[in-house]
Symmetry: C3
Subunit: 132 residues, 3 copies
Amino acid sequence: MYKEFKIKSTKQVEFINITSEVNKHLKEGGIREGVLVIYIPHTTAAVTINENSDPNVSQDIIKEVNNIIPFSDNYKHFEGNSAAHIKSSLLGCSETVIVKNSRLNLGRWQGIFFCEFDGPRTRSVRLRLMSV
Amino acid sequence: MYKEFKIKSTKQVEFINITSEVNKHLKEGGIREGVLVIYIPHTTAAVTINENSDPNVSQDIIKEVNNIIPFSDNYKHFEGNSAAHIKSSLLGCSETVIVKNSRLNLGRWQGIFFCEFDGPRTRSVRLRLMSV
Amino acid sequence: MYKEFKIKSTKQVEFINITSEVNKHLKEGGIREGVLVIYIPHTTAAVTINENSDPNVSQDIIKEVNNIIPFSDNYKHFEGNSAAHIKSSLLGCSETVIVKNSRLNLGRWQGIFFCEFDGPRTRSVRLRLMSV
């Protein structure tokens, strides 16, 4: 199974919980045991797995990542969004999750987040399901 | 093959070399060529691959990661462990390693480390073996 | 399919675009749908996916990563290259890319970069192709 779906970010930097959307596509895949690769085809966005319960966790990650990689720092890239490119490489554009008993084998508190670093924009998320 | 095993961390921040434990489970999997996905189902821990020889390498990584992401920085998350969540997203909760000739195809100096960022705790490591 | 190829870095810190070399080996693999795992068997190097168009993006990432992780910071590792080990864990030694219609399913602006953090050296890149 291969799927692509769209999401819309509404801020410059924003984490969007895509767990239920990913789950929906996983069910259509009809695979019992394997792995799911979540892939972001952008260079100023990323995907991460972190706490799905208290939304302040995402807010704290965003605040600290913005501190570590300043928006302006004499970057040379002409588009002026180098901070977003750097954050994309640090967080990473793919995650591989285990599929077990036809379900995402996430931990109790884990959710999958699309990380927007240069929004607002319409973005894509791609999924590849691999069976054992 | 799917496996879960437990480890116990003994410090707040600690890297634990899990290479031999991973290897033991890989042998039971009986697969010759493929990949092994190592997955951490926690939001305040991670997995990384780095030098397995001089233990000062892990110590230096821990010290610098603690410098980059301060334990206190006016975080909003009520549990007070936001630094651990941020480190988890930066290091990442999964690694995919090549399996070749029934063995982990690691580099000469590489070992697999469980990264505890909010211990001490009992933790889980999950493994999914995929054959070509 | 499993492949290993060599590259030579010419600087201490350098990003080398390996997209076309990876593509060449992918074509030899003859697989239509699946994933490709790109694995770096070194502890002072990494792999990342980022913009392949303006080379200033790589330069900005390198400059900022060098800022975040200083070359000297009272590290204990006797070889003196702890900064390179830390960068390797932050960027990560593997990437999993979707293969679709026999091609790398990269985004429009994405390229695959070998990240040298302790060069110049001769380095290896390993590839494992998995079919659905």
